[in-house]
């Protein structure tokens, strides 16, 4: 297989760092030099020719090839076995409902939350436990980082170029988690979104930063969810009132209470749908009276329908914590779930 990307010669690995940093081709952290051998290993693992057209960015019609994705994946620290996840996640981001250009260009400053489901979590050694929202393991960290480098280098989503974020958030460095399917009383997020449990899948969402909450003083599902709903409503009051895909991350301690009470995903979705609502007039309480207008009594739900709530089982074993991850801006960008296309049972090609 031959590669078509331009090749540069540098003296050593440190020179490679300066070469990429000086061209704004990194996120500021060191990168793994993408040699042809390393890039070819990724392509071989995913069984993709270098010129395979993964997709075309829909607004600026920019073609994206497997070779270019692999170069950025290597730079991010990905091993070949991580690469199929990167391809699947980026393919999902290219789907029309994700609204990639808007989500990555917006002053709103969201990042791409990526949730991994299925057997590949264990194959890649992903952890869904301690510190899950703060780099819990190698695989999720480098996969999330690869997606950010791809946006920068292939679509010019760099600060001040296409990326017009006023603030952004730390998830822009890497925002990838795996769901704790084994210790969950529920079907997985991907199953809930139509993917068979035997398959591996990614779900991507243009998302704000996590908002952490705590309620370890009740075992009642309704009261636990009231805390989640309060956090969602705070986001609606302080940031965006419009309904969309909200994520709730539920660690084991709180999950146990739902399990004991026999609450399913659908029960949780229905409760949040009914209770995470505010009236427009509440904006006046947080300094936004000027935009209440004549619609103060209008009620806004956080979710257009119950299924818009994405429930992710993840987190360390102790602590009555949880998190709400809000959408970038209402329903403009929708969560997209996609099966990971590489053959999971195949052996890597012989050296």
């Amino acid at each position: 297989m031959t590669l078509s990307s331009k090749s540069y010669e540098v003296d050593d690995i440190m020179a490679a760092q300066e070469f990429y940093h000086s061209r704004q081709w990194t996120d500021g952290l060191p990168v793994v030099p993408p040699t042809a051998d390393a890039v070819l290993a990724c392509l071989d693992w995913a069984m993709m020719p270098a010129d395979h057209l993964v997709g075309i960015e829909p607004v600026r019609e920019r073609p994206v090839t497997a070779e270019k994705l692999a170069i950025n994946a290597v730079m991010a620290g990905c091993l070949p076995m991580h690469f199929p996840v990167v391809v699947a996640a980026f393919t999902a981001m290219l789907q029309e409902p994700f609204l990639l250009h808007g989500a990555t260009a917006s002053t709103g400053g969201c990042a791409v939350l990526t949730v991994i489901n299925g057997p590949i979590r264990e194959e890649l050694g992903m952890s869904s436990s301690f510190n899950v929202l703060g780099s819990s393991d190698r695989a999720t960290t480098v996969i999330g980082r690869a997606l950010r480098l791809i946006l920068g280098n292939l679509l010019d989503v760099r600060p001040g170029e296409i990326d017009r974020s006023t603030l952004g958030h730390p998830g822009k460095l890497s925002y990838c988690i795996a769901e704790d399917e084994d210790e969950s009383p529920w079907s997985s997020l991907a199953e809930d979104r139509g993917i068979p449990r035997e398959a591996s899948a990614v779900t991507v969402l243009a998302a704000g930063a996590p908002r952490q909450l705590m309620n370890e003083w009740t075992t009642k599902p309704e009261e636990i969810l009231d805390t989640f709903c309060a956090e969602i409503k705070a986001n609606m009051r302080h940031y965006s009132i419009y309904p969309g895909n909200y994520v709730i991350v539920v660690p084991p301690q709180l999950r146990a209470h739902f399990k004991d009470a026999g609450w399913s995903r659908k029960d949780i979705q229905q409760y949040v749908f009914e209770n995470a609502r505010i009236h427009r007039r509440e904006w006046a309480e947080v300094g936004k009276a000027n935009v209440v207008g004549k619609r103060g009594d209008q009620e806004y739900p956080a979710l257009p329908d119950p299924e818009h709530l994405l429930i992710v089982a993840a987190g360390g074993p102790a602590g009555g914590f949880g998190a709400v991850i809000p959408p970038w801006l209402g329903h403009k960008s929708k969560a997209v779930t996609m099966a990971i296309g590489a053959c999971l049972d195949c052996e890597p090609p012989a050296a």
Binding site: S7, Y8, E9, V10, D11, E57, R62, I71, L155, S333
Partner: protein, 93 residues
């Protein structure tokens, strides 16, 4: 020992866009403003329209608002724009 490393960028592999030909003058022209529709764009483009007409002699200003301010202009607006002499991509916040 030196390293051979690869270019991670698109290397100019961009879509087939080309700028429209430039107008020599605005006098008598029909100019479209495709606004992203954010609230504060309204007074801004009101003033801009006045300036185009009073200072530059623009004959007509056509104002259109995108249905989604984070997405490209709706197809019917793009189709209509073919009848205008110039278009302003009206991004405001």
């Amino acid at each position: 020992m030196t390293l051979q490393i690869l270019d991670p960028t698109h290397e100019g592999a961009v879509g087939g866009f080309a700028l429209a030909s430039r107008l020599s003058a605005l006098k008598g022209a029909t100019v479209g403003i495709i606004s992203n529709g954010k609230k504060n764009t309204i007074p801004f483009f009101d003033a801009f329209e006045d300036e185009l007409k009073s200072h530059y002699g623009v004959a007509e200003v056509v104002r259109r608002i995108k249905s989604n301010y984070s997405a490209p202009a709706d197809p019917h607006i793009v189709e209509e724009a073919e009848n205008w002499d110039a278009v302003v991509a009206g991004i405001g916040d």
